[in-house]
Amino acid sequence: MGIFGLKSVRLAGALVVGLWSSAAYAQSDITIALQLEPPHLDPTSAAAQAIDSVVYTNVFEGLTRFMGDGSIVPGLAESWEVSEDGKTYTFKLREGVAFHDGAPMSAEDVKFSLDRARAEDSANAQKALFDGIAEVTVLDPASVQLTLDEPNGSLLFNLAWGDAVIVSEASIADIKTNPVGTGAYKFAEWVQGDRIDLTRNDAYWGDAPALESATFKFISDPTAAFAAVMAEDVDVFDNFPAPENLPQFEADPRFQVLVGSTEGETILSTNNKQQPFDDLRVRQAIAHAIDRQAIIDGAMFGYGTPIGSHFAPHNPAYVDLTGNSPHDPDKARALLAEAGHPEGFETTLHLPPPSYARRGGEIIAAQLAEVGITAEIINVEWAQWLESVFKGKNFGLTIVSHTEPMDIGIYARPDYYFQYDNPEFQTLMETLNTTTDPGERDALLQQAQQIISEDYVNGYLFQLAKLGVAKAGVQGLWLNAPTAAIDLTGVSWSE
């Protein structure tokens, strides 16, 4: 194949593009790159975020749903009523909703989906979302009733998760490879290792989306990701893996850089049951040894918001508690001496693969060394991290971004890997779970943030930024990530 042949092809291509734009036809397809490929396409039986990135709101919908700003709005449920005692939710379903196989979506499907998720042999990765649902009752084809053991202030939030979407019993056997939902896009094809294609569902109950089709591609290597965007092989890169390249995209008029926030609290997780971390003074010393801004600048190239507790800054109930742990190496050394470690001590620092951990870990190890703590860096894969750190609790320190939305409740679980056991906090969370008044809930959440911040349970570093790159003409993408999703329903090309 000669150069000339290609040149003429490009020339012809330029002509076609010219004709196109003069006729003002907007492009109707989009190619989106993700770093990881979904293992399968059932959001109700795995934790992989890549599944939700492809199918959430596109293929599958729940009774409620997240919007890009984190708010919860009606999904397949048009409206709902809550009983006086807060224990009964009656959902009225939308009319005219059909699954992609043509079958109408009814209250029976809702019952099937929720019962399946909370069943004894359920493989739902977030089964705790359904705790406290005593019964799901079909009132009529368009209404369904949820009876709870006790009031649950987060029920509508829980039902918005990808793990709570409505599936159909008729197609459940093949859901992993051929997902059939009610969304604006139908699953078309999956060439494993390469791409997943979705096409527009013309029978969709809501507003018809602008794009006719979407292709998801999977590019894990940061250099390959850069090349794919630069060569314009992909239109959008969700969660771009190399923040150091973003200034280059920003300076290039062909692209736009989308910087938003995620639900990921990035923390220096500390084994609260292991010596010497069982001493509050040692944990406080670590908190003062850390220079958050240096980590954000060095590991994330400036992207990320400092946090002082385990809570997302964009949440209305957020309190800025970074003042509890300013960078103060002298104070850190004094606290260590007071705790009986004037010469410091040795520990381990387990680092999973993401760059926030690997790069951040190097910086933190250096900052800890300044106050006398020698942290031996151990690089691990996720599977290894889950086995030895998360399950085996065999670690001193580790860096992880906790990406589940509203997950401060993990501090009420003494068996959770950082092993924080504070009855006061546990009682607070129990109160929170049964409180439905928004004002009271916010007050409780603020109290919770303060307790763990003042107990220096973990080193609180920064809220992970969502860094996306897209071609300049793409509009309507989510800036923030209240949950893992690439909601295509509002995406279009500007003319």
Binding site: M1, A47, S122, A123, G193, A224, A227, E381, A383
Partner: protein, 315 residues
């Protein structure tokens, strides 16, 4: 020849049996639970137990080994833990990318190396030889993934002659498919071609010093004719050995190159499967690679016998 072939065949079987045991042991020892990986940090113990039972991970290791080997003998490679589709089908799909890529790279490697090696040998000590050896030295030293990135930056990002990666599928036409595999194949082939050219040169030089070459010249053949008729054939034994070894290098190198070009090949599959602790996929793919490498070596052994008749009778 038959006896020689049989002996080689038995040693092939034994190698495969040992390999299967080693692969299974090593992969099962690696820490990491596939079910935990699938379900993440919020999974409840009963959910994990349910998934483990569903995947058959609650049976003993010897049972799983026997089931795996027994299945493979009947062509059943098991079902992937994560994808939940038959491993044999996944491997077959991926081979349609990896095998053509390997063969493409091998062809490029041979097409570059043979003329380069012969040219250098025939110009021994002169500038042409020195230039060729310098170039191949560079080719050996450059890591192929770095070379791959440079190719992408030049030919995909700047010149836009190729896509930066990905594979459209053979159903889009042979030309489109080959076009997509060209940069990866060149990246894979360059270091191998450099090694092969150096081997070709030194093998040829060894042969050129032999008495029969002088005889060939004495009976009136030109230098070129002598190299072509007598030199090349005798120099091929070490070259074949290297080509045999290179097939395994190319297959292994493809694991990295497939990442750089995000090609849906075996290398990418194994990379993803290791991360997800999809043990059955890792075991089966590694076993397949071992099978291919051992089989290629077996065929190289047979090829020796074809090239060198003395080996057919030797036992």
């Amino acid at each position: 020849m038959l006896r020689y072939t049989l002996k080689r065949l038995i040693s092939l079987m034994l190698s495969l049996a040992v390999a299967s045991l080693v692969i299974f042991a090593v992969i099962e020892i690696a820490p990491g639970d596939p079910a935990q990986f699938m379900l993440g940090v919020n999974a409840q113990p009963d959910t994990l137990a349910a998934l483990r039972a569903e995947l058959g991970l609650d049976t003993s290791k010897p049972d799983r080994y026997l089931a795996w080997v027994g299945g493979m003998l009947q062509g059943d490679f098991g079902t992937s833990y994560t994808y939940r589709t038959p491993v044999a089908g996944m491997i077959a799909d991926r081979l349609w990318v990896s095998l053509p890529l390997t063969i493409y790279a091998l062809v490029i490697s041979i097409l570059l190396a043979f003329p380069a090696g012969i040219y250098a040998a025939s110009r021994r000590g002169r500038i042409g030889d020195a230039a060729m050896m310098g170039t191949t030295q560079l080719g050996v030293a450059i890591p192929n993934f770095w070379f791959a990135m440079m190719l992408v930056l030049v030919f995909a990002v700047n010149l836009r002659w190729f896509n930066a990666g990905g594979f459209p599928g053979w159903d889009k036409g042979l030309r489109t498919g080959l076009h997509a595999l060209t940069l990866p194949a060149i990246a894979l082939a360059l270091p191998q071609a450099s090694i092969l050219a150096r081997v070709m040169r030194s093998a040829l030089l060894d042969v050129l010093g032999e008495d029969f070459m002088r005889t060939a010249r004495a009976k009136g053949l030109s230098r070129g004719q002598a190299i072509w008729r007598h030199g090349l054939r005798n120099a091929l034994i070490p070259v074949l050995t290297i080509i045999g070894l290179q097939v395994s290098f190319l297959l292994a190198g493809a694991i990295i190159i497939e990442q750089v070009f995000y090609l849906p090949g075996l290398g990418r599959l194994i990379f993803q499967a290791i991360n997800a602790r999809d043990l059955i996929v890792v075991e089966s793919v590694v076993m397949l690679l071992v099978f291919v490498v051992i089989t290629v070596n077996f065929m190289v052994d047979l090829a020796y016998a074809v090239v060198d008749p003395r080996l057919r009778t030797r036992t």
